[in-house]
Symmetry: C2
Subunit: 322 residues, 2 copies
């Protein structure tokens, strides 16, 4: 089922007929959409629709819209984070320039909204509201993320709020939109949203984990990138909470040193994470979220087989190695 839906998504993306008269504006959009990626978000949207309606393709335009929006945030975030690479190749602002990345991104936001809106007028207000609110939350999350870089004391709950906004809201919004497209009751649609917030947060925790403890051969990115960047992720914040004074001091020394972090610091920091069993705590936190998400999904009235597929996918994503 997952394979078929993934093919449906790739087909829909390949069918995008972008205008050819302005390559300076549209080539970066095609480039971004064709970079690949796991296409998790549109897949979740389709699965959510199929819980309530036998044919998931009823939500294909919305799934596409969610994916285009996600890619739009990557294009703009890469400028803000000064990230030269995206999925191993040049990010848009590096391959072209900042102006191109801004403007092509803006068009992607409009194209995303256009696709999201391709539904029956009666459900359009609800679909659109869900999408626009999620899109604002994503921006708020990015803002918090950027501000954390300059704040000395970030609390763990602030971090969890940030990843909920930046990552989980779009996943939750996509699941709710899929549900609405499938004809779910408002109550079931809300449950799918709640489910999405939980799994979205869990996925980001898994990202944090892999960044430090991933297998270099399987991870695909440099292991320890977050530590090198001094990024205050779950691992760091929890470790600051749990460490004794001496270790906390050392940890903060390393994280406060602007750009003087090297590979040896990755090893040192990971030792501290392990010493205080932060990796284990993270996994527990993640599995708690997944467990709680399953309890929410259980209460959703819909196709049990598709619900099982959704749970399997979620489990695979929390056990992934890249």
């Amino acid at each position: 089922m997952i394979k078929k839906l993934s093919e449906l998504i790739e087909l829909e993306i390949s069918k995008q007929n972008l205008p050819v008269n302005l390559p300076g504006l549209y080539d970066p959009i095609a480039y971004t959409l064709n970079l690949g990626g796991k296409r998790i978000r549109p897949l979740l949207t389709l699965l959510s629709a199929q819980i309530f309606y036998p044919d998931a393709s009823i939500a294909i335009k919305q799934a596409l819209g969610i994916e285009i929006f996600h890619n739009f945030t990557l294009v703009h975030d890469d400028i803000m984070d000064n990230a030269p690479l995206r999925r191993g190749i040049k990010s848009v602002f590096k391959k072209w320039n900042v102006n191109t990345a801004i403007l092509s991104g803006d068009v992607m936001f409009a194209l995303a909204t256009e696709n999201i809106s391709l539904c029956e007028p009666l459900i359009l207000p609800q679909v659109l509201k869900t999408f626009l609110q999620a899109s604002i939350k994503v921006c708020e999350g990015q803002q918090m993320d950027m501000e954390f870089e300059y704040i000395n004391q970030v609390h763990l709950r602030q971090y969890l709020e940030m990843i909920e906004l930046k990552t989980a809201y779009l996943i939750a919004g996509g699941l709710k939109i899929g549900a609405i497209m499938g004809g779910a009751s408002p109550d079931n649609a809300t449950k799918m949203f709640t489910y999405g917030l939980k799994i979205g947060t869990a996925f980001q925790l898994k990202d944090d984990y892999l960044d430090a403890f991933g297998d270099p051969e399987k991870f695909g990115k440099q292991v320890g990138g977050d530590i090198l960047a001094g990024k205050k992720t779950y691992l760091y914040l929890k470790c600051v909470d749990k460490a004794n004074e001496e270790d906390r001091k050392r940890l903060n020394e390393i994280y406060d040193a602007k750009k003087n972090r090297e590979k040896k610091h990755i090893i040192e920091v990971k030792k501290l994470f392990s010493l205080y069993q932060i990796d284990i705590e993270l996994k527990e936190e993640m599995l708690k979220l997944i467990q709680s998400s399953k309890e929410v999904l259980q209460k959703v009235d819909g196709d049990e087989e598709t619900k099982k597929e959704l749970i399997n996918l979620t489990d695979r994503l929390t056990h992934r190695e890249n």
Copy 2:
């Protein structure tokens, strides 16, 4: 009538309850919306609604959405054009930074779409489609505008296409949305759109004129800014068309000199514009558009008094001195 509608717009803008928890994201939005400006676009949207419905406030949320979108484009354009000032004070990316301007702009686009969408479900698809298509056209226009800087031979018709996209489409879209909100027939709504394309293009030609020939005491900006920037406006392109070989060569010498233009060049270029009566040609072109717009408006079935107000406003804007 205009005064009352303008007050309605200012009231609606002042009522915006932006979240207070993320000043780094929302302060730049409040700053931008409170910079003032003529609020022409929302005014036109309201007048268009009132042609078909006695109470213009039926379209106030859409008028607000159009104004927020317009302000969003200013925030992003100022980054792209490296413009330090906006309405005499610091532009967002100068007062804060590029990242803030990108992200706050993105939120403004979402807020604009939210406001545009506050209408009856039955007309929402049409309203939203009109808005999103206009928003894409505006980006395409900005792209063309940026590309013109690096193209040696821009044709006058390309320039007219660019200003139609960058300026006229949003005005036209706002007028059409106002008409739909007022209950106009599809035919009348389309006519309001056509009307908007014509007056929007005329307004931009007037901007081009004022930039070179405005009265320094009334214009509010530096006269000759476009010439100093080497911007290929209507005046320059038409002059290149009409000038003899010697004058054309001189004109291109001045415009090709990257950043070596001074005030004396403004005087020299303006002399050439006057010599070839480009100022007069521009005014004729503008008045032709306005005349043609009036003929379109005449065929619209709606309140004659409001139509007259709209024509008066358009005439005032084409005779304005700032």
